[in-house]
Every structure is written in C-alpha cells, then in structure tokens.
C-alpha cells in the first residue's frame, strides 16, 4: 500500500472524480425535492428539475407586450453594471495603488485611510451612499466600486511596494522620471497581479451587484431574484443562481487566459 499522498489519479479518473461531487449534489437535491413533493405537491422550496426548465423557458421567451426576453435582458443589464463597476474599480485600483505603492508621501497619506475604508461594511451606510451618488444606475455601480476598489487598491499598492528597490533605482539611472517609472516599470508589473486580485473579487463583485439590484433597480439578475423571492419562486431563483455562478466561473477562466496571453512573462517558470 502506498501512502495516500502518493496516489495520483490518471487523466480519465480526474474527470470522473471532478464530476463526482456535482453528480452527488444533483442526486441529493433530486431526492430531497422528491421527498418534499411527496409531502406537499405544491412545495416551492426545492422545485423539480422540470419546473426549473419550465421557468427558464418562460424567462427566455419573448414577453407578450415588450417582446423582451427577460432572462437575457436581465443578464445584459447586470453584466453592464458589473463591467462598469469593475472597470471603475480597476482604474481606481491602478491609480491609487500605484500612487500609494510608489510615492512614499502618497503612501503615508492614503494607506491608513484605505485600510480603514476597506473594513467599512458598505451595506450599513447605504443611505449615505445613495444620498451621495443618487439612486439611478450610478448607485449600483458605486456599490460594486466601494466593495471592490479598496481591496484592489491595497493589493496593488502592496505588490508595487514590493517591487525590488533595485528596479526603481535602475530605472532612474536610465533616466526615468517618476511618471515614467509608473508607466513603464510599475504599471506593467502590476497588471498580472491586478488580474489575480480581480479573480478573487469576482465573487464579492457579484454579491454587491445583487445587493444593489435588490435595493433599487427595475431590471437585472439580482432584481429578478429579489422580485420573485417574495413568492418563494425557487424554480426561477435556482437557475438564476446557477447562471450567475456560471458567469462568474467563466469570467474567472477568461481572466486566467487573458493573463497568460497578455503577460506571458509573468507565467514563466523562474530559472535563474
């Protein structure tokens, strides 16, 4: 008998093993759902698979009046908000992260602020946020930004602060100004880390999006979940949740690919 730690599954069995927990969860769900439906045929908490398929078919059919396919328009609007929120977060993250990480004066001024700000639970100060940023599209985007940007700033500032000082001196001896050091030394080296942080923040970003849409919106994935939640329409909620999870998962994969393509140097094995 070999030690368990030395037993590596082959290629085929890797796939089987990876699928196993999902299959088990599906089975467990079906069993629980069947049980609840046996006790109460109208049970809404654990809808059957066919009920969920029905609900999704309704949601992807064009609406009689507006002609809108709710599911797709929800997805489109949510992704737009998410994209905008993340884009703004990235810009803030890069600008502040670079300033804090590179300029000692900016670091001394802003990094304690960022440490504190990143700990504030945004949901608790919503009234003030809404007062400051209004209640239309902007506010949803702002909630994502407030949730995501401080973490990006801290992470990038840390990364840039860890650049070997030799590199910064070296760049100066090649004639670089502070601006040029930012542009050609700090920024490019921060990018792969940015993507990594972004991957970690995908989950929270979706969470903030859904929260924002639950408070003030008239379309979007989070809005729809909120709307049907009061009727306990899990046959709609569960596919929406699965869809959100899938979107986040795919975004994660895309970011990995992007990083490998755009910053090949960051993915090379060290030799020297």
């Amino acid at each position: 008998m070999r030690r368990v730690m030395n037993v590596a599954p082959g290629r085929g069995s890797r796939w089987l093993l990876a699928l196993l927990p999902f299959v088990l969860i599906a089975l467990a769900y079906n069993f629980a759902s069947a049980q609840r439906h046996a006790a109460n045929p109208d049970d809404k908490v654990l809808p059957t698979a066919s009920a969920m398929v029905d609900a999704m078919q309704r949601a992807t059919q064009p609406d009689r009046r507006s002609g809108e396919r709710v599911f797709w328009s929800d997805t489109a609007i949510s992704l737009k908000r998410l994209g905008l929120g993340l884009a703004i977060s990235i810009v803030i993250g890069l600008v502040l992260g670079m300033l804090i990480g590179l300029l000692p004066v900016a670091g001394a001024t802003l990094s304690p602020l960022m440490a504190v700000v990143s700990m504030i639970p945004p949901m608790a100060i919503l009234p003030i946020l809404f007062i400051a940023f209004g209640l239309d599209e902007l506010s949803k985007v702002v909630l994502i930004v407030i949730g995501v940007a401080p973490c990006l700033v801290r992470d990038l500032a840390l990364k840039i602060g860890q650049l070997p000082s030799e590199q910064l001196i070296k760049a100066q001896t090649l004639g670089a100004s502070t601006w040029q050091v930012m542009l050609r030394v700090a920024l490019p080296q921060a990018m792969p880390r940015l993507i990594e942080s972004l991957r970690l923040m995908l989950g929270p970003a979706f969470l903030f999006l859904i929260s924002a849409e639950a408070i003030s919106a008239d379309a979007g994935l989070g809005y729809r979940i909120f709307l049907v939640r009061r009727y306990l329409a899990m046959d709609t909620i569960l596919p929406y949740v699965a869809w959100i999870t899938l979107l986040a998962f795919v975004a994660d994969l895309l970011l990995v690919q992007l990083s490998r393509r755009a910053f090949p140097w960051a993915h090379l094995e060290r030799r020297a």
Binding site: N40, D42, K44, V45, R65, L126, P127, F130, I131, G134, L135, D136, E213, A214, I215, S216, A217, D218, Y223, F226, L227, V228, R229, R230, Y231, L232
Partner: protein, 332 residues
Amino acid sequence: QAQPKKEFDIAWSIYVGWMPWPYAEQAGIVKKWADKYGIKIKITQINDYVESINQYTAGKFDGVTVTNMDALTIPAAGGVDTTALIVGDYSNGNDGIVLKQGKTLADIKGQKVNLVELSVSHYLLARALSTIGLGEKDIKTVNTSDADIVSAYQAKDTTSVVTWNPQLATIKAMPGAALVFDSSKIPGEIIDTLSVNTQTLQDNPALGKALVGIWYETLALLQDPGPKGVAARTAMAKLSGASLESFESQLKTTRMFYTPAETVAFVNDAKLQKTMDLVRTFSFDHGLLGADAATKDFVGIGFASGATLGNPKNVKLRFDPSYLALAAAGKL
C-alpha cells in the same frame, strides 16, 4: 426659495396599493397629466421600501409611497414636513398573523414571532395582542426582512409570522398555516398614502394637481371590469412580479378608495384622528419618534378639520384633502 420647480421625483416600491403608479408611468398617464400642468414627473422604483422613505427624507425625492405609520416615524419625526397627499387605500386583510401551530390568536402566547420589527406588521401585532389582553412581553419578536420572510417561515424553528401581501398569501397557501388575525379586524388603521414634501407642494400646487389627476385616472382603469381594465391589472401584476390571479386576490383584501369623494370622506372622518393617536402611541412606545421626543406629542399631526394631535408648533405630518376635493369637484 419659493421659485417653482419644473421637475419632480416620486419614489415607489412594490405593494398592491401602489402598483397604479408604475402602470400610470408605463401607460403614459403620468406624462399626460404632467404635460397638462407643464411639469415633468419621474417615477422611480426602489425595491427596498425603507430605503425609499429614507431617500425621500434625505431630500432625494419630492414624494414617496408610504404608510401612515412610516410617514410619521421617518420623515415627520425627522423634521421633514410631509403631506399625505393621496390616501389611496387601507389594508383590509392585506396584513396578517399566521401560526404554524395553533388555530387561534391566543395560541401565540410564548411563541417567537418573525416579523419586520417597527413596521406596520409590528403595529398589527401589538393591536392584535391588545384585543386578547396580551402584551408584547408575552411573545418574543424576531426581526426578519420582508423579502426573506417566506423562506424564514419554512425554517423548522419558525412558529409564527406577521407579514403583508404578497408574502402573506404565499405563506397562507402552505399546508398547516393558520391565519389567526388580519388587518380587516382593525379596518382603516393601516393606511397607504402617497406623501409629498409639504414645502414643495405649497410652492408647486401643479404637482399636487397632476399627481391626483394621474391617480384617479389610473384607478378608474384598475376598477374597470372590461378588457382595458384587465390589461391594466395584468400589467400591474407583472410589474409586481405576480400573476394576474394573485394580484386580483391581493386587491380584494385592499380597500381602495376608487373615487375622490370616498377618499375625502375617509380623510375628513374623525376616526382618522383616533387611528393616528393609536399609531403615534405605538411609535412613541417603541422609540420611533427619536431621542428628542420626550412625549408622544413631540411631532404634531395636522388634520383636514384644522385640528392637530400633539405639538401644534411642530406639525410635520398633514392630512390635506384639498387636492382630492379639487378632483372630487372635477376641477383638475
């Protein structure tokens, strides 16, 4: 400062009695009346009811759909002089207490009750308890968000809930659920209004006229048994995420004032003063009038007759049927 504004923002949240507002917007009724008075009215949906009132209180909106109690405890207690411009309906079974175990209200004694604390549900509970000689000390309240109360009811350890429609209907439909008390037992006490900033209204009577105009034109559709009415109700149901059937059953437990005359009569009725006294007593007892309120008289409430409850120098919530009267007289 009294310079007339041209553009106004009204916030609404999903509730059966308020669904005419988004429908009016969708159907062009809002634009029609706004154009008539040369103003612009924007109707904004806020999913989180409390947040919509908070934002109104903070000055982000000129008007908001709100219950009588919340109008008193949030904007009025917060110093924002507010006029209940349109009293649209009162809850006549739309709010209720549901027990998992037990058949009568008395069985609630000693139970844990899930509800949105300090809301009209809480008020309903307090009123219900008082009818059988119990007090809040006889039960234990657990604050539960309205959006999650249906699923909270599913939890094993939940025994009773107080909530409103459509959640109430969903819960009632579950096996074993017993509705032991509802708002039809205290008719006229849980009132749904469109309230607007008093100052804004004074400076811009056009706003009041337009809103009242929109309201009764839409209500006529809501009541209409013909195909136009069905179309309107279907649209409202959809806007609230419900089926037509569910929406219509919610309407049944809502006492809508379909005509201006009915509304005026309700607002002028002296019973309203009694109701508001109950409400403010409840609010004061639960600290809702704020830390500065030494007595329940701290915030004054003005009525149509000119009478006031509480401090007449600090009237912050007004029931003003004058615009309704214009509508009743067909002068819009």
